[in-house]
Amino acid sequence: MADETILILLLSDSNLPTGSFVASSGLESFLKHGFGFVPSPSPIPLPVASGTPSNDSGTIGGVNHSHPIPPTTTSISKAEAITTFIRDSLSTYAPSALPFVSDAHYVVSALQSSGGGKEAASRTLELLKELDALYEAMTLNHVARRASKAQGVALLSLYSKGFSRPPGLGLHFSPPAANGNANASEGGIDDATDADTRMATLVDAFKLAVRRGDTDAHGHLPVCWGVLCAALGLSLARTQHLHLYLHARSLLSAAVRLNTIGPYAAQQILLHVGGALVDAQLGKCARLRTGVLIAEVSNSSTDGGAGTNEKQERGWDETTDGPATTWPLGEILAARHDLQHSRIFNS
């Protein structure tokens, strides 16, 4: 089954051991500080024209029989508060993290499809560290930094321990050809094994650099997500989409465990609003890049490689095409996470 479906199923499994269940990305602090439940003067605009759970007072409580939530204004405003938080959190996470996901995916895919030797591999590692160092410098809130590193390193371990080929088994998974990676699909098992080995070596080297405490290697989540997905052969578009979707889903999961909304309401929000919010941010941020690869791309453009990314990065303007945070209030609240007298999440 050499297509992306199995990868997407695996990567979106909530049992995936990435440690994301201890992160609320600032939601716990947001609620503790009394945000979200103050009646807002105007209704919150959502990118969905109808079918949102925000105005129909019967919807959220009504479908939920085993966890009865009375259809009161309180439950509605809680669902609204969570929805608004997801909107605002995505609106800052997407432009700040997605450029790093995209660039990490690009450099690892390039290495995989080039069939490059040791030199190309060590150059790739250098670029990953450069991306990681930039993300570290741009993530100034210590709680978000901590959470990002913990989850990123877990993804690297997941690749080497969870997605490598079990020894002694004849069958193995061939990465899909979605990245223009002709070697893996046409060259049969030998080439695919070569590619596997190359990726395993790269991921292990990156993980080692992080564990060793190299100054530039931190193992931040967006960089590691890009590495993992590219190593598995997931396309860039899927990689970006899944990353934002999982961000939204883990916020809803946190909201349920904080007992703010019920599990049915969480599904309802994810289906009817979450998807549209993710799509809206993808529309804005899928094209953003970090700027780290501009020099790289112009260096390699003489030998004709690069393709669409080269075009995208030519004329890159950091004020319109680069990473940025967009929610200073979210930064403050997330950084204040550790000040809570009692808390159940780690971020």
Binding site: A133, H142, P328, L339
Partner: protein, 286 residues
Amino acid sequence: MTSATAGCGRICLALHGSDAIFSELSSTYPLKLLSPRNERAGLAVVYMITYGGGLVSGDSVSLSVDVGPRANLVLLSQGSTKVFKFRPGQRAASTDALQVTTQRMEFSVASGGALFLLPDPVTCFRAASYNQLQTFHLAADASLVLLDWVTSGRKSRGEEWVFARYYSVNEVLVGGRRVAKDVMLLEDGDTLASKLAPYACYATLLLYGPQVQGVIRALTEEYGRISVFKAGGPAGLLWSLSALGDGGAVVRVAGNETEDVRRWLGEALRGLQVVLGTEIFRRALG
């Protein structure tokens, strides 16, 4: 005549004996640099002023600042930096309508020197679009106080977060190594006000180096004493502190009113009075 202008400024400050002396202090329209006399040894003050009290769309201002070894420079503005879509009383040509106002500043601070960048906040009027790009090159033992703040607009005219776009970068390199690159973009159209509510002023304060260790220590202790219990609604002022590398801190503040934030900053930075003297400190944060 066009409404957009490009102004350049250059400040070079060096220490001669105990006097901080400008080897260069120049600027072109619409930027104006003024240095009032002051009594503090080793320290100079410069006001950055724009003619007409603000910038319009298409304006660009670039400033380059060199602070020599052991010299101290205080940079202030006179009132908030106002960013208009159009210069008041002037109808801009339609081609200017979409142009961004840009301020680009490069600072370098040599060994033992210090830069205190303490301007008033930026206020973007309705539909204005503003880019501010600041880069700080610090020697390993240089010090920096960087205040960058923005208000929701002309509240008196009912403007709350109705500018088109505000983009601010603060990049700090110490000994050539990037320790922070804070990039903030505010441009969500209809949802911007709701996501920044109830606050009308946001400030970022970046502290680095030997001269601000006392301030950082005091703030870190105060921050550590905060214990948050379930609140019934948002507080009037919120702040956070994160450590930055060795000997630095990033402080963010949000307040219901700009004056609340100003008062808080004055209190938080009171340790700087020793360095700046009461008179200059009062002018900066009074």
